[in-house]
Each structure stands twice: as structure tokens, then as C-alpha cells.
């Protein structure tokens, strides 16, 4: 029987010890009329060889594309070592380190992770992970509102990913928290402090500052941070961990530094995988540590004075504090953090910085070459990290479909979420894109744009060709 080790004689012996005739007797406390009929939608079991064939067929059907999409999840090279080590059974099949003495491997690794994240973000402390970047931002909003006690509103620039803003709203709205969206400059693609400073600061707990923002544009983090602090608000930095090796970290923004930093951990060692599992991270100043949600690992000593690691400050958490906990989170994304820690250790600060620089250089090259095509222009004149917005004279969704037919996933259509910008798309070229791939993108985009210019789909419709 798959994964069940019992022999017939063992089953007999076990039933005798229990004192029942059959396994079915063990379910005799379940009312008869509740007993389920046979499963109807679960298919017959198949063996490993057969499921392997099914999965490989489906994977082949999906195929592989040359990827120019970012928007919060990024294709980076993941060294072979990362997942070879991460999927070792001792990491893969352990659980939350409740028994510290039997979990020092996981605990020390989490402590190393917390250290790495604190150093990347320039803040003092980190938790041991949250679900993903979007839900981590929601948790940061909740933490800021708790810390500010009486304030119930948070300022959310609309240069934050539209999906992130939706997720935050969905998670915090039933606690009476209001999110105030801030407009952005359509010239720079950023959130000028002049716009922010028009806001009333009554009842506001925090300002969220994305760096880079959803458009890839760099925000004026120093000025925004100082404005917020001058008005008694907390600052939540929403950052990309790879960028933190190159850009000024939240802990050093403005005169006092951001108070909380959160983000999507996927870029450091986690495959794209259609959206998950990824992990969220959350760091903060020491004085806010009791507002952190989720697991935190602390370093201490054992009875013989040797250093060791254990879960700490558990009185914040649901299994102790129940309805008064900082969050309901229990299981987090431990295995993803295992991969991230190994990835960061392998690359080091210099390696991460080189990845960040190559991403920036590739994106710059891509944006410049695509913007030379007739009907394509680069939006926003501000410094950027590894993404950029292009405005097209055509419907971006149709262009992206045509690129897909050439094996290229070319970007994200922004026209639904940012209609004020017109027909725009967000493109990204990480360190994994080669010059040839970028040239190929340019070639195909040029052909598609010119074909549609000479023979527009609306004309085809009129002529009855399509």
C-alpha cells in the first residue's frame, strides 16, 4: 500500500491489542448517518511512473518562455547548491522548531536569516518570515497601527503594486483601518513629497514608501521619511532584497531611518513557480520588536553555557496569546527562508550587488533599445532600478499576445490599473537575460508594431479578414 507499512498480520495483532474486530470498528463514534459514501471525484490511484508521465506531459504543454516580466516576482539565477541543500530531508521534513534541542539546524539558520535581513535593510531586528510580500505589507500596516495606538489610517502611495494595495485592504479592513491612496507624478512616476505634504496627518499611523516602486522608479526616500517623521508618522519601507545590496537601505533613509521594512523575499533564491511558495520578510527598529508578527529566533545559552538558539518572545503569538496575538500566523514559509539564507550566504554582499547592477544595466539597455522602435516610448524621467514603463501606440495586451507566440513573455499590461497613463506596459530584464534575448525582443516588438501599424486590426475587421 503506498506509504503505509503495515502487513496483514501486524494489522491483526494491532486490532487484537485494541480489542476490536476490524479497522472499521474504530470509527464507531461517528454517527452512522454521517458516514460518507465513496469518493466520486478522486480518481483511481496511479503509480510513480505514471504520475511522472502525467506531470512531464503537462510541464511540456506549458513550455519555457524568455521572460521579461517583473512586477514583484523576478527571474534570477539560483545556484544549484541552494535547492540541493534546501531539499535535504532534515530541512524539508522537519517542522516549526518547538523542541529547540532537536531543531538547532533550523533555528541557527533562521537566526542567520534574521541577521542577513537586518543587515540588508539596515534595521536592528527581523522576524523569521511571513507568507509573501503583499501579506507582509498588510502585517506591517497592522503593526504600525498597533504601535501608534490611537491612529487608524495609513498612507499608501499608488506607486505600490495594485495587487499589494488590494491585499492589504482585504486583510486590514475589518479592523477599522483605512488606507489613503496617494497620487503620483505622471512625469517622474514617483510620489513627490509635495503631493504627500498636502495630506492631513490627523489620525495617520504611517506612510508606506516603496523602493523601488512598482514602476521600477526610485522614490525620494529621504525626503519622504523626514516628512513622515516630522509629522509623527511611522515609515514602512517596502523593498526588494536584491536592490538592498545596491540601494540605500530603509534603516538609513532620512535623518532617522524607516521604522519597519517589509518585502517579497522571492528574488533571493526562490523560483518563480507561478506565484509561490515565496516568503515575506519584516524587519524593524528594536523598539518595535514586540509588534512583530510571527516567529522570532533568539540566541541564548544551554545549561552548560554553550550558545544555542530558541524561539523567543512567543507571548506575541497566537498559540500563547490567542485572541490578543499580534497576528494569527502559525506556519510561515520556513523552507523558502532556508533557500534564501543559503542563496545570500553563497552570493555575499558583493555577489548580490553584482546581480543588482547587472539587472539595472540589462533593463537600461532593454528600455533604450525598445524605445527606439516607432510607436514605443519610455515613460518617466527618474532614476530606476530594474524595471521600466513603456507607452505604446497599440493595445499592450494584443502586443503581449503576439510576443508570446514568439516565445517571449514581454511584460505586464498596466492599462487596467493605471488607465491615466494610456497604453502602457511594465518590462524588466534581470541578470538572466542575454544580449541576444534582448535583441530578439527588440526585433519581434519592432516587427509586431510595424505590422499592426501598416495593417491595423481595426482595418482587418472592416475588411472582414479576421
Amino acid at each position: 500500500m503506498p506509504f503505509i507499512p503495515h502487513t496483514e498480520s501486524e494489522i491483526r495483532d494491532m486490532l487484537d491489542v485494541i480489542g476490536v474486530d476490524s479497522i472499521d470498528d474504530l470509527f464507531d463514534e461517528i454517527p452512522e448517518d454521517l458516514r460518507a459514501l465513496a469518493l466520486s471525484l478522486v480518481p483511481e490511484g496511479i503509480n510513480e511512473m505514471e504520475i511522472g508521465r502525467v506531470m512531464m506531459e503537462r510541464a511540456n504543454k506549458d513550455g519555457l518562455y524568455v521572460n521579461f516580466i517583473g512586477g514583484g516576482a523576478y527571474e534570477h539565477h539560483i545556484p544549484a547548491v541552494v535547492w540541493e541543500l534546501t531539499t535535504r530531508g532534515e530541512f524539508y521534513s522537519a517542522y516549526t522548531p518547538y523542541q529547540a534541542e532537536a531543531s538547532q539546524g533550523t533555528l541557527q539558520l533562521l537566526y542567520e536569516f534574521q541577521t542577513m535581513m537586518a543587515r540588508l535593510t539596515g534595521l536592528e531586528v527581523s522576524n523569521a518570515s511571513l507568507y509573501d510580500g503583499a501579506s507582509a505589507l498588510a502585517e506591517a500596516v497592522l503593526a504600525a497601527v498597533r504601535a501608534k495606538k490611537k491612529a487608524t489610517k495609513v498612507l499608501m502611495p499608488s506607486t505600490i503594486s495594485p495587487v499589494y494595495r488590494q491585499v492589504v485592504s482585504n486583510i486590514v479592513r475589518n479592523q477599522g483601518i483605512e488606507l489613503i491612496e496617494l497620487p503620483f507624478s505622471e512625469v517622474g512616476g514617483h510620489t513627490p513629497v509635495e503631493i504627500v505634504s498636502q495630506q492631513t496627518t490627523d489620525d495617520i499611523a504611517a506612510l508606506v514608501v516603496p523602493q523601488p516602486n512598482y514602476f521600477g522608479v526610485l522614490e525620494e526616500v529621504d525626503a519622504l521619511t523626514d516628512w513622515a517623521h516630522d509629522h509623527g508618522l511611522l515609515v514602512i519601507g517596502l523593498v526588494n532584497p536584491i536592490a538592498m545590496a545596491l540601494l540605500k537601505p530603509p534603516g538609513r533613509w532620512g535623518k532617522q531611518g524607516a521604522d519597519i521594512a517589509v518585502g517579497e523575499g522571492q528574488p533571493v533564491g526562490i523560483p518563480l513557480s507561478s506565484g509561490g511558495p515565496y516568503f515575506g520578510f519584516m524587519c524593524c527598529k528594536q523598539k518595535l520588536i514586540r509588534q512583530l508578527p510571527g516567529r522570532i529566533v533568539g540566541r541564548t545559552v544551554d545549561t552548560q553555557g554553550r550558545p544555542g538558539f530558541t524561539l523567543t518572545l512567543q507571548a506575541r503569538e497566537q498559540h500563547i496569546r490567542r485572541s490578543k496575538a499580534t497576528s494569527n500566523i502559525c506556519t510561515n514559509q520556513g523552507l523558502m527562508v532556508t533557500a534564501a539564507t543559503i542563496y545570500i550566504a553563497l552570493l555575499g554582499a558583493d555577489g548580490l550587488r553584482r546581480v543588482a547592477l547587472q539587472c539595472h544595466a540589462n533593463t537600461k539597455r532593454l528600455l533604450n533599445s525598445l524605445a527606439k522602435i516607432e510607436g514605443v516610448e519610455k515613460l518617466f524621467d527618474r532614476p530606476f532600478f530594474h524595471e521600466g514603463v513603456l507607452r505604446l501606440t497599440q493595445d499592450p495586451s494584443a502586443i503581449l499576445r503576439a510576443l508570446e507566440a514568439q516565445g517571449i513573455v514581454g511584460g505586464i499590461d498596466l492599462s487596467r490599473h493605471y488607465p491615466q497613463l494610456g497604453d502602457t506596459m511594465l518590462v524588466c530584464a534581470t541578470e538572466t537575460r542575454t544580449d541576444t534575448e534582448m535583441d530578439n525582443y527588440e526585433l519581434h516588438l519592432e516587427r509586431i508594431m510595424s505590422r499592426r501599424r501598416l495593417d491595423p486590426p481595426c482595418a482587418q475587421k472592416v475588411a472582414g479578414k479576421v
Binding site: 491489542v17 469518493l39 503537462r58 541577521t115 545559552v301 550566504a345
Partner: protein, 461 residues
């Protein structure tokens, strides 16, 4: 390579202080760290309520095919038809197992599934303009995530006591429900390891008061193929795929907490959900489900975990699914019978174990001063991971023991012998047990120091 076009005001002035080591150093360091862990692959791990069963390697291998790993979540559904087909079939499998009408795979863990479920309860009452309902009822034996979730959803929490037999105190429930009741969150089999006998009566009481019934699927492993939560009267349910569907626990996640609902909650399911039309798969989004409670994460959920669960379900098939509950229950009742015959006290001796059961070491403490935590630590010395200790909170000095179906009789017998040895040691040499563990990489850790002199990140350069 130097940056010339990003102004200095945006840049980091230094290199982040991170490790600078070779690949071999990394491999050796993390390999050695891994070796100081207990895990299912290396040890019996009977952590109650966590369902620590074997994680089949095939599930990992085929979920990690390059086409699945490389696909960007924002790319068009046309680039992921094979992936979406797996998810759609998983949705159907979960509907069948739970007896629910609709399933959304998107919640990222059990607690997020609970959040989605209770938010749907709220959306349902709001849609009927019934805003008086501001209270969620939770049994006192419930997982901490239940009351914490209710708070996150803006509800007050009211605890319902447990009766002497371990069931929900029905009279107390009857007295507690009313026009302010939004719903009741219940685990069945309960966290006490027993099947809630009055479930139909409980469902009627809550429904007649206008509340909805939430099923915490933490213990679904005990009843797969035997009872469907939908048939018990539950309106909404979350499942923990890292438990029942054997996806890895990974040192604390990732999990996956899909939710299932009956007809009246269908419009509120979190998005996205996979739908199939004429052999083509696509996502249902806010355009299709305007009353949805919305998105709960940046993408669609823990896709890689869902693929592993799908592969597991296909490997087991319907017969295998039935065996899960049967052998998990057989193992739990066998281990309970063995321990009872060797002198251990059960918290609920008249009840069948569902897939887990509770031992209370109250007598041992009175006789020797050795407490449950000491016994747990001594088990580590004997090569067994400890069961869940001190949960549920209402049983003194308790072990919640869940062996799961993938453990052999030999392993269970070895565990029984180890516990009996510890019982003897506790009487003969209590200090030996009180100072356990002795053989692990570290001995007992100073948790007070860890909390008082916080050191959560290495501070010297």
C-alpha cells in the same frame, strides 16, 4: 561594474555586512546544520495536531520540473494550461473529500485559510445587512489560530467550555448563541483527539441562531473518506495540505490552506480560482466574482505546494485516501492501547482516539516532580521527537500524540518502550529526566535569557 546613472543619494555607501565564503564552506556549514535537526526522514515525529507523515519524494520531484519553476505568475494563462489543469483537478478532489460546493486554493497556510473563512462569514452576514453579529464562538480547546483569526476579522471571541467527556458543552453553547453570533469555529475530530459526538446538534444550534459553522481542517487526516465536513453541516472549511496531503513542513512552512464552502458562501470565495471551459483553463477573478472577499496574496497562492498535494492525491487515489484515515486511526488507537496497558493515563479513557490522543502525566508529576516537558526532552535522548506538549491547555501535563498512518508497528512499539523506560527513570532517578536532554547538540536552553537579553541578529562585524 560601476553605476553611473543612479545618483549617489539613492545608493548604499557600503557593502552590506554579509558572509563572504566559498561554495564548499556554504555546503559544509548548512549540511552540518541540517544534521542537528530531527525530521520525519530521520526520526519518529508524533507532534499532535501537526500530522507529521512521510513526504513522498515523487511529489517534490515532479513539482520541481523546470517548466513549473520558471513560469512567471503574471504570464498569460495560455502559458500554464498544464499547471492550471493540475490545480483544477485538485479543486475537484478537495470538493469531493470535504463535501463542499466550491474550493479556492489561494490561502497560503491554515491560518490564512481561517482568515479567508471567517472573512467570508462576515461578508455573508454583511450581504444580508445583518451587522449585529459581532461574535465568533470558539471551544476552549481550540487552536490559538482560531481566536487570533476572529480578532483579525474584527470579531469578539467567546469561549465555549468542554464537557467531561471531551465534547463541546452543548448546554453552554445553547446559552451562548444569539443574534450576535456570527459563527462557531470547530475542529472535528477535536484538538482533544476525539470525534465530536454532538456535531449535528451543534450545527442545528448555531444555524438556528443564524450563525455559520466553520470547520478547522487541522484534523482532516483522521476522517478522509470516512466523513465529509459538508455532511456534518459545516458551511465553510479550511484544509491544511501540509498535513493531510503530506506536503513538506519545511521547518515551519510553506503550507497551503485551501478553503471550501457550501452554496451560500460560494459568491464570497477568495480569488483567484481555476475554472475550466471547453478544455481551456483560466482564472476566475474579481470580474467573475464581484462579491469575492478578494485576493490574499501577491499571486495565486503557494502553487508549488498545491502541485505536491495534487501529485500525492493522484498517487493515493480514492482507495489510498480511505486508507489514510483508517491507518492513522489504527496507529493512534494501537499506540493508545499499548501506553494504557503500560501504565499511562489517558485524558479521555472512554473515548476512541481519532488520529491522535492525549496522555496526561499529572500523576507522574505528583509522584516524582517530573513534568511533561521533562519527559518530552528525555524522549529526544531516546531518538524520538516529542509529541505536542501542554496543548490543549485544559488538560494538565499533557502530551498530544499523533503517530500518522505512515509509521510502522515497530516504530510505535519502540516509542512505547522508550516512554516506559522514561517512566521508570523518573521514579528511579528523577534528576536524570529533569535535566534531559543529554545527547542532543545542546542541552536545555535558557529561554528566560533569550527573552530578557534579546539577541535576534548577530551584532559583531
Amino acid at each position: 561594474m560601476e553605476v553611473t546613472d543612479i545618483p549617489a543619494e539613492f545608493l548604499r555607501e557600503d557593502l552590506a555586512p554579509l558572509p563572504a565564503v566559498s561554495e564548499l564552506q556554504v555546503v559544509r556549514h548548512y549540511t552540518r546544520l541540517s544534521q542537528s535537526n530531527f525530521s520525519i526522514d530521520t526520526h519518529f515525529y508524533p507532534l499532535g495536531s501537526c500530522t507529521m507523515k512521510y513526504n513522498p519524494r515523487a511529489c517534490n520531484k515532479y513539482a520541481m520540473l523546470p517548466e513549473f519553476l520558471m513560469r512567471h505568475p503574471q504570464s498569460a494563462v495560455t502559458t500554464g494550461q498544464g499547471f492550471l489543469q493540475c490545480l483544477h483537478e485538485l479543486q475537484e478532489i478537495l470538493k469531493d473529500i470535504t463535501g463542499m460546493k466550491g474550493v479556492s486554493l489561494t490561502p497560503l497556510a491554515g491560518a490564512q485559510g481561517e482568515f479567508a473563512g471567517v472573512t467570508m462569514i462576515r461578508a455573508y452576514h454583511d450581504s444580508r445587512d445583518d451587522q449585529r453579529r459581532d461574535e465568533i464562538l470558539v471551544p476552549d480547546a481550540a487552536h490559538g489560530t482560531n481566536p487570533a483569526t476572529a480578532t483579525m476579522c474584527g470579531y469578539k471571541v467567546r469561549e465555549i467550555p468542554t464537557d467531561a467527556e471531551g465534547d463541546v458543552d452543548v448546554e453552554a453553547l445553547r446559552a451562548a448563541v444569539g443574534p450576535h453570533t456570527a459563527g462557531l469555529m470547530l475542529t472535528n475530530p477535536s484538538t482533544l483527539g476525539i470525534f465530536e459526538g454532538h456535531i449535528q446538534e451543534i450545527a442545528d444550534i448555531v444555524h438556528e441562531a443564524g450563525g455559520l459553522l466553520y470547520y478547522d481542517g487541522a484534523n482532516l487526516n483522521a476522517i478522509v473518506g470516512k466523513v465529509k465536513p459538508g455532511d456534518m453541516g459545516f458551511d465553510v472549511i479550511h484544509m491544511n495540505l501540509h498535513k493531510t496531503f503530506s506536503t513538506p513542513h519545511g521547518g515551519g512552512g510553506p503550507g497551503a490552506g485551501p478553503v471550501g464552502v457550501n452554496d451560500r458562501l460560494l459568491p464570497f470565495l477568495p480569488i483567484p480560482i481555476v475554472t475550466e471551459e471547453g478544455g481551456d483553463y483560466r482564472w476566475l477573478t474579481e470580474q467573475d466574482l464581484p462579491q469575492s472577499i478578494g485576493r490574499l496574496s501577491g499571486s495565486m497562492g503557494n502553487a508549488g505546494v498545491l502541485l505536491r498535494a495534487y501529485i500525492y492525491a493522484r498517487l493515493l487515489g480514492k482507495e489510498g485516501m480511505n486508507r489514510v484515515a483508517e491507518f492513522a486511526t489504527l496507529n493512534a488507537n494501537y499506540l493508545m492501547a499499548q501506553l494504557r496497558s503500560r501504565g499511562f493515563d489517558m485524558a479521555y479513557p472512554t473515548r476512541r482516539a481519532a488520529h491522535e490522543f492525549i496522555v496526561t502525566l499529572k500523576t507522574l508529576k505528583e509522584q516524582t516532580g517530573v513534568i511533561a516537558m521533562d519527559v518530552a526532552k528525555r524522549l529526544l535522548d531516546k531518538g524520538y521527537h516529542a509529541p505536542t506538549v501542554y496543548f490543549p491547555l485544559l488538560v494538565p501535563e499533557c502530551f498530544l500524540i499523533e503517530p500518522t498512518e505512515t509509521e510502522s508497528k515497530q516504530e510505535l512499539d519502540g516509542f512505547t518502550d522508550a516512554l516506559v523506560e522514561i517512566l521508570e527513570e523518573a521514579h528511579r532517578d528523577p534528576e536524570l529526566v529533569k535535566h534531559a536532554p543529554h545527547t542532543t547538540p545542546v542541552t536545555r536552553l535558557d529561554e528566560v535569557k533569550a527573552a530578557r537579553e534579546l539577541d535576534v541578529a548577530w551584532n559583531s562585524e
